[in-house]
Symmetry: C2
Subunit: 366 residues, 2 copies
């Protein structure tokens, strides 16, 4: 994996996001692009969504009232954490913003090969995950939510694509992997291209809002589009990438693989508060020093919690930032404030989610 | 492919079948085994079915009235030829002989990756193939006939298995292949193990009657059984292998890849007669020489047509053999006799088949 700067199957830390533009050919989210979005969400406003492939083409299609769709998915291997929340909220934002149909894939075949979780087990996790997405605001009436294991169009496409791409090609995109993960990658391609099948209205511009660690799947899907062009008039899918939300210990991207440093959406308010109060911050050695030279919000996971998740109001976020650097707030009180916002969110979310479990069961039983 | 003495994806010629016993670990079909079968068909009586894996265990299970099943399949890439007829007739024979349920797989995902035939096209070929199998005598009431592309249990198992077997392992079984063929091999494993899923009554002895060129799939399936033993109590599948029926030009195994030397089950009687009259025979340079020293039935494709297909009565076959070596029959008259038998079979088969097309359509539309 030495040559792969991002890892779709692992936990990645990107030290320098600017490398991704030159090395992967990503384009930055510019002011001009942002101006074409009526009500940018906090990820767009705050530069968390920082890069894209063909997002401009997606916007042009939307503006011209051409057919569009939004596609994303989840690996049903664990409870929703703040990272999964971010992907889901982007999906929901674009569904509303463009009144677009959403394709939401439960990547249970990837969970089967990557995490070796049996399909019966991941089904239960998936019901739980879908209830989270619905509670976060996904409109199921304008969504096609499915499990890979139940969607033969996806698995059949995986077989077709597997003949069009060589092992060397996969190794260049993913590094040396167990065979099963390559197979899972072809299923992902099927997911990404599913919205363009004739049953769903044929070719269209599809936006895939994901973490930048998932870019290999986009590159593979775009290469596949080129390889199958004689059979399918697929339009290369567009993508928009967010930066990683760090783990609470500040070490790596927040990931389900390291549960102790992860805030889960089903954490009790008490546990969430405790986790936040223990997170890595940007404080100085002493209160005196901090009052004198200010804290370092840019290094602080607590500040990131506010920036990525809980302080939707830009004025509130700016206040935290300014008071931190100005030495006007200490970490203890700051964490208490963010924890309060988090607890408010979690309580409301957990109430909504409880009402969505039956709907989620019904969606995945069809 | 230099090291692989058989090739499940290509056209194979086996010069020396005895090598397969030592190199692949196959066991011979012995007299003792034959005596345990009440009414052996011509393939068993004539040594065409020559080798097996665990056929003795399958027989023991049948004798002990334990659960058993028969499994085989077809690649829907072309019309039935005499090779496909042989596999189908073995399946039908074992269905009747053991009153066993048959699992018949339409390997359309393999056709997609290997022959690059789209699923819509192979569906039509599959309907045609299934009509052939039904006309040959398969009892659909005691059969589960399905397409790989429509059977998600098969494709889901393929994902599970793909994580249990390494690329090196596959290369040792199949040689260097395009990635898609490896994935097709995992689907084949799913087909072979499908009868043992709990929906079909759980673990059982399954007999797979196939050409010896398909043995790699059996080895892979048996290796997979070992790798997934913590999750599934699969019994290693049994197999019984037939020798290849040569092409009419005597060159290789009869194969759909070389249509001009292949007798198809939908050939018109006139065309079939013409093909047989042009086939490679064991005749001498002149009629005088042949009457003096006899012909060579063992080298003659016309004799093989009688032996493998059209002379079910052992006395008739013996008469042809003896008269050939005794110089009492010349090739022209012998071919006319075999062609007459072939035409009789084809006419009857084609009449039966015409009545089966609707049933075949119905089976594959479910």
């Amino acid at each position: 994996m030495a040559d792969n700067i991002i890892d779709p199957f692992g936990t990645s830390v990107v030290e320098d996001y600017s490398r991704l533009f030159s090395e992967l050919g990503l384009k930055p989210i510019t002011k001009e692009l942002l101006e074409r979005i009526r009500r940018p969400n906090l990820y767009l406003r705050r530069g968390i969504d920082f890069a894209h492939r063909d997002f401009d083409k997606f916007l042009a299609a939307a503006e011209a009232k051409k057919p569009i769709a939004i596609m994303s998915g989840i690996k049903p291997s664990n409870e929703f954490h703040l990272g999964s929340k971010m992907t889901a909220e982007k999906l929901i934002f674009f569904q509303k913003e463009f009144k677009a149909k959403v394709f939401y894939c439960i990547a249970d075949l990837e969970t089967l090969v990557d995490n070796q979780i049996p399909l019966e087990t991941s089904h239960q996790i998936a019901v739980n995950n879908v209830a989270d997405v619905l509670a976060l605001g996904l409109n199921p009436k304008r969504a096609f939510i499915y499990k890979q294991s139940a969607e033969k169009r996806v698995t059949n496409m995986a077989y077709l694509f597997s003949r069009k791409i060589t092992l060397n090609h996969l190794q260049s995109l993913y590094g040396e992997r167990p065979l099963g993960l390559y197979f899972a990658a072809f299923a992902q391609c099927g997911d990404i291209l599913l919205p363009q099948l004739k049953e769903f209205g044929g070719p269209k511009n599809v936006l895939v809002p994901i973490g930048v660690d998932q870019d290999s799947h986009m590159r593979l899907a775009r290469d596949v589009v080129d390889r199958v062009k004689e059979q399918f008039a697929f339009i290369p899918p567009s993508s928009i990438y967010h930066k990683f939300f760090r783990a609470l210990d500040g070490e790596a991207k927040m990931s389900k693989r390291n549960p102790m440093s992860v805030l889960l959406l089903n954490d009790t308010p008490e546990l969430a508060e405790k986790k936040i109060k223990c997170c890595v911050d940007g404080g100085r050695k002493t209160a005196e020093e901090q009052r004198r030279i200010g804290g370092e919000a840019e290094k602080c996971v607590n500040y990131e919690l506010a920036k990525f998740h809980f302080a939707d109001d830009d004025k509130v976020l700016k206040k935290i930032y300014d008071e931190c650097y100005g030495g006007k707030r200490l970490c203890g009180e700051c964490k208490a404030e963010v924890a309060k916002m988090a607890v408010k969110f979690l309580k409301k979310h957990q109430q909504k989610k409880a009402k969505m479990v039956k709907t989620a069961e019904k969606i995945l039983s069809d």
